[in-house]
């Protein structure tokens, strides 16, 4: 019942994720930390998504302050071997508008 926003959400991004660009959480997204990682709710698209690990939450939370997504991953302790999996996760978040590119002013 009434969990229908769970029904839909991110599809795998068709575009490769650009780790070297600056990114940020969408301003209409609310993040709730959970045991398994975090729940994300987008008030604009009314969709729910989730982060499956606390480490990914650390990355996503720090995107807005980091010069690039790659830097946010590095600061969170993501190794080179792990990076492609994180890039794929971030691509999925970008495809569902949970995160978006930050435009420098």
């Amino acid at each position: 019942m009434s969990t229908e926003t769970l029904a839909s959400g991110a599809r795998a991004g068709s575009e490769p994720f650009d780790l070297d660009r600056p990114w940020q959480l969408h301003p209409q997204v609310s993040v709730r930390p959970e045991r398994f990682g975090a729940l994300l709710y987008h008030f604009g698209t009314r969709r729910l998504s989730f982060l499956k690990s606390p480490a990914l939450l650390t990355v996503v939370s720090s995107l807005g302050e980091a010069p690039s997504a790659r830097e946010a991953c590095r600061a969170a302790g993501v190794t080179g071997a792990e990076l492609p999996a994180y890039a794929a996760a971030l691509a999925t978040l970008a495809a569902s508008q949970m995160i978006r590119e930050r435009v420098s002013l």
């Binding site: 019942m1 009434s2 209409q28 609310s30 045991r35 398994f36 729940l39 008030f43 982060l51 996760a89």
Partner: protein, 440 residues
Amino acid sequence: MTAPLGTQPAGTQPAGTQPAGTQPLGALPLVEQFACGLDAPICLTWELTYACNLSCVHCLSSSGRRDPRELTAAECRAVIDELERMQVFYVNIGGGEPTVRPDFWDLVDYATAHHVGVKFSTNGVKITPETARRLAVSDYVDVQISLDGATAEVNDTVRGPGSYATALRAMRHLAGAGFRGFKISVVVTRHNVGQLDDFASIADRFGAQLRLTRLRPSGRGADVWDELHPTAGQQRQLYDWLVARGEQVLTGDSFFHLAAYGQALPGLNLCGAGRVVCLIDPVGDVYACPFAIHESFLAGNVRGPGGFAAVWRESELFAGLRQPQAGGACHSCSAYDSCRGGCMAAKFFTGLPLDGPDPECVKGYGERALAVAAGTSPPRPSGDHSHRSRPSGPVPVSIGAGPPASPGLPPSGRALAPSGRALPPDRACDQSPLAGFRPG
């Protein structure tokens, strides 16, 4: 060790199918995490009033007349404050007809200002061009218009004379105000299941999104379920239609019992009752779900010590629901992993054991169980706020400020006798759904 990962829409990947190495060590699959309960609901249903201008034959909450013990505006704001602290993303507000509360729009504004999103269900009676314009500019409010027939004939038989016209007028106002993507919410019955394409056309016409939900034998629905619930053949037809439509049609996750046909429908396919969702009723009682208004599923009241959070976190009932479920008679069924035994409330109010098949089990076990249970009386829904007689049309609801609050009122708004005991409910409610209403 491989990286943890993923972000994915919850529920698209059935539990246990994550590829090796993508699951953080020691963590449960997400659906299992949800089944064990979260520290706060993802969202919840909040019925603001039992007052309603209609008398739909299948009303889940047996609404009609306002209850004098309903939460005051101040108490509602306190609940919203709690939901904000718990980071509940949004509330599904219903009733009754929530918009007949004079403080309804203020409460919506208060919730969104406190980062609690609002979706509200309405029969459309208060959706004027002006309110539609106001709703259209908010990113944090969503509207669901209830419609149970694609024609006035089918709709009004269930929802009452004039209700089709009221709903369509509200849709015109919303569309006219530029509100894109509001929801048209349909309870699927034996009589409207053949109109699914017509409902989709209505949604397209207004730039709305169609939402289909399951008829539950809850509230007054218990009295009409036998005649209105889809036949076995119609269930299959519905399933095929939903599979073909995919994510274009919302379902509130309410047809997960149909997953036993084979392919899971989009959604969590999990009963979230007391685990990730719940119900707050107009007098502040917290139930496991909106379809289970019965003392067996009553977890507590928001007026109790510790408020809503204490009920959510400490209720024994909810703790029990968060334990692994055994499956009972369904355990050996090949479809159990798909349907998880179906809907708890549907079983309960048709007199079936909770650990057995759903009454609409697609394998036919439900019908057999119902035949066995025939002759016994299923539990009756608790509480009845139905109008004393069914109105012949929409009831004109006039809203006054009500009598001024007297200093002798306890927080519940219920008058105290000099002895300090609560007086019987205001009998004037029998005539006017909002008699005795005290905003504040």
